[in-house]
Assembly symmetry: D2
Homo-oligomer: 243 residues x 4
């Protein structure tokens, strides 16, 4: 059965800013969708904040194995009930990939239990990403390091819990470093944060960035065999007690 | 300078239930306070849900190095703004020790990013707690294992993120296991979850439980030297770029 | 391409002890091989200590994606050069699954950097294994817990580094607990330790034990795309320095 | 009782190379010892490879709470029995701080279970060290980042197991990054790896480097209350079994 990928975008930048469409003629959703299109292992849908239920209905989430999240300017506009729906689906096993400026989205903050703040500037710095755990399936096919000619600088300290696995560290010519690829799990769901993807820069055309996102979707995808209640429950004794 | 310990309780059980006062004549707050009293390394205050601002004013939290949290029946009654104040102080470095049924408190759920659910029953099972990381400062002075004659059974799967350090595992005669002592960090704050402490059972009289809580307060206590902003901020380039 | 599984056994118990053959008529190697046989995703070979080069030639290891290791009485008889060959192949990416009493094998001690000691007895205790990380691929298809009617007791403290992921905890009716399924990585290789498998007891006939071992082989199998030097090397500056 | 610090050096560079003595007139041992001298919380001794028993007798190690290790050119000259003595003392609780080029010492490789290789060059690059876990006691008193005007470049991928805690990441003007401060535990002992300290460069005069090493000694120091056997042992049933 193919992996059901849903890509969510706040759907603002590409509507209003020519420079995004210049870089990504199909918009960010289109650029990300093209990673999976034509591959029978995946089905892909794109939704956005302006869709009904903020694009995040229970019906759609039930049918989603992994959700990609790209947001930036409209974090505060995402309705709390939509955030709760995504949270609940992660608890029950839906995978989540948080991209770039999604670091300060409500859903990522809620899952991390921290503010997910960082230092930043937009000087089109060169970034070089070093793979730290090359044996992890998300890093399959990625060289020891690769370069992005220009990215928004995201610098430490990144206010996240220590990742379960730190997969990559970014170097910036501005003198900064960043934990650029991190995995977490929450409830029955797996979460992958990946830093590249400023809306005016070509990172989503980079072959390694695309491969990492594809690998990440494969790694984070829901285990359809895992269908188990989550919630405290009275549990009778498993052993007869010594009387 | 002594460590400023604040102990918070929902302050319901001991007011209304004789069996709590039979076990803990000074109430749960009193029992926990006695761990620190008379020791010049600590100052200790007790507060409760029925106090002004739910016992959790900014003034008090500013002056608290580590907060102990015991709640059970009134998780839903804790005002959201009080939870937010505690969360913000943990972000800025206040330590937090969540005891027993605090596992499903709003503050623990918010910091963990999960529901923190578990399996449970109240059959006064014997519990045996095995130390997994004996070199951790929280386990200083604790033998390889110790027994609690009776505890409420808390069983896996405990819905938490993988702890940064798993310090102890509990065995129950009912046939269950539990990760009974776990550390986490969030923001600049350190968090310790410790499972024993059912209100009608003598665990807080146990010398090892008391030592672990005291060690935990020492470990989690705020670093007063760490006074740093938390929050995303524009950061100019640290290096002059190659032009 | 199928995953190349090699199963190694010290090959002593089943030669000399009728009770092993009574439980496992094809021996332990045969019992483990039957997990993979008939499945086109895997090829499987069995070797033993009495084979040339202790069954662990470089040619075989080069062609092995994941090595299963079962040893008990003859840890000290495994030649150091064979241990070194296995170590080197793990460094370069070969997966390793260490079963049961392999916890004190030279190869596991060498990879862990500890003695891997534990507490034990053979009273045919009932064991109940609780899944701690149900979303991990090694736990796919496994219920929240399952029982083994009888196992050798392996108890904490198990002297290992904190596992990268703690997948399961065992409860024993004798009053003990054990971290029964643990993952690690070393060099480019992935390592999975799994506790069940006493030679006289039917654990390797248990459907869940078999599924976990199969899942483990899939998880640990070498990434054939990862072919990279491991070893310190002079590295010229990646950036032209500011002069 | 003061913490007993022992500082070990291969004692070669400063004997033979004028440029080391120019930077560190008391040698590297003297430079490191000066971090602790005059502080009643510590006693400090220095030993070297040319001393009897390679400077690492059981008597000395028994009386050592934390051992600092600086070696570079003579890793292969350290006798295996001395390495084994250090390993055994770490197992029993002695702390170990491995500095700079000690990354490829036999003792660090043995404790890590990997080769601990890395990429390197000596171009006197500027390094900037970012604190990742500012609440960790080893980072007490250290700013968000600090600079070393020149260091030997140590670059990723550093072939170590994922650290239990990643405390700092280094940025180099050459375009590289490195996990420059990492903690581990093995047996009952705590281990801290810290990258700065090339023998011809002034890092051990830097106030933050000195503070981190002092904090590290405090963190890693043996728990004198922890005196427990390490080694597999028959353990009778803790519970009477159901008969």
């Amino acid at each position: 059965m193919p992996i059901h990928v849903t890509i969510w975008n706040e759907d603002s930048l590409q509507e209003t800013h020519d420079y995004v469409l210049k870089m990504y003629p199909q918009g960010l959703n289109g650029a990300l969708a093209s990673i999976f299109e034509g591959n029978p292992e995946y089905t892909v849908r794109t939704v956005s904040l302006s869709d009904a239920e903020a694009g995040l209905s229970n019906e759609l989430l039930d049918d989603t194995d992994v959700l990609l999240w790209w947001g930036h300017c409209k974090h505060g506009k995402v309705p709390d009930d939509a955030v709760t729906r995504v949270y609940q689906h992660v608890m029950r096993g839906m995978g989540l990939i948080v991209l770039h400026s999604g670091h300060e989205s409500k859903i990522f903050q809620r899952l991390m239990g921290t503010q997910c703040s960082l230092r930043w500037h937009e000087d089109n710095d060169k970034e070089r990403i070093f793979v730290i755990e090359p044996h992890h399936p998300i890093m399959r096919g990625i060289p020891a390091w690769f370069e992005l000619e220009a990215e928004e600088m995201y610098g430490e300290r990144f206010d996240i819990p220590a990742p379960e696995q730190l997969l990559a560290i970014g170097w910036y010519e501005s003198g900064d470093v960043f934990r650029s690829a991190c995995t977490f799990s929450r409830g029955y769901g797996k979460i992958f944060y990946f830093q590249p993807g400023h809306e005016t820069l070509p990172s989503y055309h980079n072959e390694y960035v695309r491969r990492i996102i594809k690998n990440g979707a494969h790694w984070a995808a829901r285990d359809r065999e895992l269908d188990r209640e989550l919630g405290s429950a009275f549990a009778p004794s498993l052993e007869k007690k010594h009387l």
